[in-house]
Symmetry: C2
Subunit: 727 residues, 2 copies
């Protein structure tokens, strides 16, 4: 029968009494802090169902969560939003370590930005335990804290060889985490990776799942991935542990976005066949196809050697990097063995070289791989070239005419995931990205707290235009959405402030500051002031900071006065500073150094300094720190172009970094056309992940040293040890 | 006329139109975020008044503040509570840098625990500018963040030689801040300290004003302090800068509390006469009377030599330390000059020696000082001994019969501040101190989240008793008031947990944990778990943590698993661990090391470890850090008695302190009867403030080193370099 549960108490009661074939209806409405255990025993013919009265009208909010345990249970149509789980999982396929699910199903549920305040308070949105469970047609979007979005757990014997089915889900945007722990799907852990999971992952749509290096972290045996679509995802489907995995007929669309990758092979008996990979730009571990080196006699949590594996019949279109023997180093010295790379087709209309070989690849047999005529073959054997014509097979798939690979891929397009055949149809997709300049423009004049008041009245994307004059803020300004603050005329308005900071980028906030002068002379005489700071607390939303055509002067009323002060567990997607000057600053300009646990967490992904002038800065102009030996992130990435650093890092007492620029664990560095004069050293500490570092066309003068930790990097046209700067 | 302002808009309007003699009435009620500027020009005969309709019924809350500017304005009867100022001052005697007050008065106002969330977001509660203003009969209690409670500012010519009167105020509890910036009253800053302020501070009651070293920081010339009472205040009335100050007829009652001090003399022409000082235990800068050494040709912000000063006719009863030439070191080498110490009376029924001389005191003339017969005179000249009888003069004042000093003190008792003649009569004083065990007792049994639920139901001071068994918490438990969690029987209940921490001491929280076992085996496999943590955010309330008869086992599921994890800008009043054991902990037990700005801030005042056993601890058992060269705090203070440390600090990768115990900048250390075996070094980094450090009756074995930074400390009966521990 159908049981209408009038309220949470009735729901508990209904669940307690439910018999096979019952359908328990959750009335429309919003439930706060609902801790729901759905337990019971249905049968294959007569499952017990827990369903929303109307889909899209039942919301679980606050600190709600759902646990299931039993047999043949079905949950349908719940929406989790506006809150987070107080436990470790939002939807758990167990109630206790002993009480698991078998033959249960969660379908057409939504988890939307259901995040804790704490970026590094880990949780999973979905934890699947037991056997023969299905998770399908769900919509999961906006996970921003640490922890896998969906995890299949094998930590009990009863959860292995499970035959779960994960299908037709829509995994929405997962922004860059800036740490390990940002996987969208993980099956198993290294600990149980010698066991088979035998999970089927089919026809799921992964949309901008950029959390970290591993979109999918496969850590068990016998799993099958097929028909999944990866849309502009940074990272790869990674066979991190476990053997005998099949990756057949998946579709990757990078659309030329940075760090977009394909498939990474580690371990034994892996089959990568009939996949379509298009527009992927990632290199190294994020290549379109990566075959790793392993560790001889690897410990369970390191890298096993690739053996008896296969990458065949795949089509690579405009994908830039095929990485063979990736990760080769002293520890990872076991090269691939008994492995076949055959019948693949490679087309690239943008470049001619695709293959990078890091070690001896004689353990791989190459056979009948077809290259478009512009491409440089890896070797003679196993490669042939001919003019390839692509035809549009629909859904953005461009297939090489007349090849077996194309036929295989085409045959799999009927299970290909699309936005239309995945997730739910009844829930409004939300664009969570931050945009500047999309709102209204407000013009304000000088005076006390006029800017504060304008910000308080503002909406996301608004522009606040400042007429010339002095703007004194006696209160700090909190930014909780993207805002542009811009000088209206040729004469820059002057911003003065009295609190410890002028502008606070709180969670959800973002700032473009353009055409203003900021002066520190009204600040309290105390250390540690700053012009801009992030939230003092954890931010789960990534932020953007753009500074253009601004002058910062006399930030020196006491020591350690920064332009920007960031706090632990905050993360900038981008910090871009252009055409700006910084003079007489007692602290640091951009100290992105607050993640001091050295476990691979860092404070900013992209940092760009262009055409800036730094003069008389007490501490580092830039300090970018990613500590530890973790390899699962893309950044930090830094570009410095046409900048001058003069007397930077001169405060011997408080400049603890002892540098004018300090780069630790930065993954990408390009410094060009810049001058470093009369300054503390520029320090490079290059670690893990083969960082790409290039310093060129620059002058180091007045005793400014360029120091490194002995790791290699590229330099070109550097003038070191110059007495006077070359102008 | 009397103008009834019906609402904030009417208030603004009434102020705008106010004429001399007007009385503007603020209606009873609670005003949130009221930013009130009271400006106008009254006359001496006809001031403009802004008054509460009824005293005690007008509340300014949220982010309210008050600024005054003009002439002859009077404010009366406002209460600030439940909020904080968004600006730098709650009550300001100016509206802008140019618009100041003259001849204005604020009387019978209350500021009660009006603190921001951020401990180190500085503000003043009251800033007095201009001239001839009066601040009287106000009640200010519970300032917990950084920043002076009441500041007289001299930063404009128009604010100097001001003739302000600060009288009959009640300054309620100001808890230990753990940093500089916890003064209750400051007059001037070093910058303008050569100017006279000529402020009268009369008959104010200072009750447990323990914020820092300086209860009062006098930093300007010509001020008079008289009739003030200091009740159990840690610190001193300090003549930090400025000359020609008079301290006449003030009353200090330490009641034997730690760190209670009297009067500290620096600079020239200071007169300290007719004061009564009783039961003060403070030493060094907190002595009952301190005469400092100065710096030759001192910079404006350092220590000027004491010259032409006087300390006469004062009565010292049971006050333990008179400090002469205090602060003497390489920099502070200028000894007192042309200074008179005469006609004082010293009685001490607890000890025989009072005087500590740090340098050549020949520049001080001692004359006719009278000592009770048990006391050891500083020197022959200027001191005489006789049997002294004390008589009760009322209000706790015990005067030596038949002495001139007694007569002088007695003559000043009619201006002596008392709780009755200060502050306001109509406001309920609140006891903000934390107490354990004052509430109800709840007994609970094992199971999932039974402890979480009991804490959620608890009230301040409650006791939760746990029957034997296993307690699994799937949710972290926030403590927001003092709670005692205690095992009920002989068999310790076992606490297990799944989140990154078990118990979170949030702002206002405090914990006694007794008779339980905590095991880490159910925790997530991730670094940085902890059993107990403070708030991740700043805490303005100090907290207490007592751990007794507990066992902590197998906190080692991943690296850096701590027993306690503290966060920046949190402060423990006391952490006491007794009769407990810690085994197999991958992280640290008590890492009180998060104040890494090295500006004198630290994480805990009193740390006591007694009869504890530490076995196989990856990182430091204790890390106590106070960095920088600031001298204005009392702590940290540490006692270790009867503890055993075995294989502590063994994680070479993650134990960044490279120690088993690391003490940096700790002010008081007593380690006794303890064993340090097979462990990383015990490190002492002794800096500033002449720390008192004694290590005795202990064994360092199995290669455990005792390392220091070359500063002296006392050891006694130590067994160093022992192969096997002596039992
Ligand atoms: Ca990962
Ligand atoms: Ca001070």
């Amino acid at each position: 029968p159908i049981i209408q549960a009038q309220d949470p108490a009735a729901l508990v009661e209904a669940i307690k009494k439910a018999q096979p074939g019952d359908e328990i209806v959750v009335p429309n409405g919003t439930y706060t802090d609902l801790e729901l255990d759905f337990t019971g025993k249905g049968t294959a013919d007569a499952p017990i169902r827990l369903v929303a009265e109307e889909k899209g009208k039942v919301f679980l909010e606050g600190q709600s969560y759902l646990r299931l345990a039993g047999e043949y249970l079905i949950v349908e149509g719940l929406v989790f939003r506006n809150g987070f789980t107080p436990t470790s999982e939002v939807i758990s396929f167990r109630t206790t370590k002993e009480e698991l699910c078998n033959n249960c199903r969660v379908t057409e549920c939504v988890i939307d930005n259901y995040n804790p305040v704490e970026r590094y308070e880990s949780d999973y949105w979905v934890g699947i335990y037991g056997r023969n469970n299905r998770f399908d047609h769900n919509y999961l979007t906006g996970k921003r804290n640490q922890g896998v979005t969906l995890a299949v757990r094998l930590d009990a014997e009863e959860s292995r060889e499970n035959g779960h089915r994960i299908d037709h889900n829509y995994f929405g945007e997962r922004p860059i985490l800036g740490s390990n722990g940002g996987e969208t799907l993980r099956i198993g852990t290294s600990h149980y990776s010698m066991s088979n999971s035998n999970t089927l992952v089919e026809s799921n749509y992964f949309d901008r799942c950029n959390g970290e290096h591993e979109i999918i972290s496969n850590k068990s045996g016998g799993n099958i991935f097929r028909g999944n679509t990866f849309h502009e995802c940074q990272g790869t489907l990674t066979m991190r542990h476990g053997n005998g995995t099949t990756v057949d007929g998946n579709f990757f669309f990078g659309n030329g976005k940075p760090n977009t990758g394909g498939i990474r092979i580690i371990n034994e008996r892996q089959r990568v066949v009939n996949n379509y990979l298009d527009g992927l730009t990632g290199y190294r571990f994020r290549g379109a196809l990566v075959i790793m080196n392993g560790v001889p006699n690897s410990p369970i949590n390191r890298y096993f050697q690739v053996k008896d594996s296969e990458a065949s019949n795949n089509v690579f279109v405009d994908s830039d990097h095929i990485q063979l023997g990736a990760g080769s180093d002293e520890e990872r010295s076991a090269v691939p063995e008994s492995t076949l790379v055959a019948d693949n087709v490679f087309v690239n209309r943008n470049r001619d070289t695709l293959f990078t070989v890091y070690d001896d690849m004689s353990g791989i047999t190459f056979r009948n791989n077809l290259l478009d005529e512009n491409l440089v073959p890896l070797q003679e054997e196993g490669f042939r070239k001919e003019k390839i014509t692509l035809t549009d097979a629909g859904h953005g798939v461009m297939l090489p005419e007349g090849t077996a690979a194309a036929d295989s891929v085409r045959a799999r397009m009927d299970i290909m995931a699309t936005p239309e055949n995945t997730g739910v149809t009844w829930y409004d997709f939300r664009d969570e990205s931050q945009h500047f300049g999309t709102g209204k423009t407000t013009e304000i004049g000088p005076g006390e707290n006029t800017l504060f008041d304008a910000v308080a009245q503002s909406a996301p994307g608004d522009i606040i235009k400042l007429a010339p004059g002095e703007y004194l803020q006696t209160k700090a300004i909190d930014l909780r959405h993207p805002l542009t603050i811009v000088g209206a005329g040729a004469e820059k308005p002057v911003l003065l402030f009295q609190k410890t900071s002028l502008l606070n980028i709180e969670n959800g906030g973002a700032l473009t500051l353009r055409g203003v002068r900021v002066d520190g002379r009204e600040c309290l005489d105390q250390p540690l002031n700053s012009v801009i700071r992030t939230s003092r607390y954890s931010m789960v939303a990534n932020y953007k900071l753009f500074i253009e055509d601004c002058d910062f002067t006399d930030l020196d009323i006491n020591h350690s006065f920064n332009v920007l002060r960031v706090f632990k567990h905050t993360f900038a997607d981008s910090i871009v500073v252009r055409n700006s000057s910084f003079r007489n600053v007692s602290g640091s300009v951009l100290p992105l150094d607050q993640e001091n646990d050295d476990i691979g967490i860092y404070n900013a992904e992209n940092v760009i300094l262009e055409n800036c002038f730094f003069d008389n800065i007490g501490q580092a102009a830039l300090h970018l720190h990613r500590g530890g030996s973790d390899e699962s992130t893309f950044g930090p990435m830094l570009t410095i172009d046409r900048c001058t650093f003069d007397e930077v890092g001169t405060d011997e007492k408080w400049n603890k970094s002892e540098s004018s620029i300090s780069l630790h664990g930065t993954q990408f560095v390009h410094i060009t056309n810049s001058v470093f004069d009369d300054s503390a050293p520029v320090r490079l500490h290059l670690v893990v992940g083969e960082p790409i570092v290039e310093i060129e066309h620059s002058v180091f003068s007045g005793g400014t040293e360029l120091l490194d930790n002995g790791e290699p990097y590229r330099t070109h046209n550097l003038h070191l040890g110059v007495d006077e700067p070359i102008t």
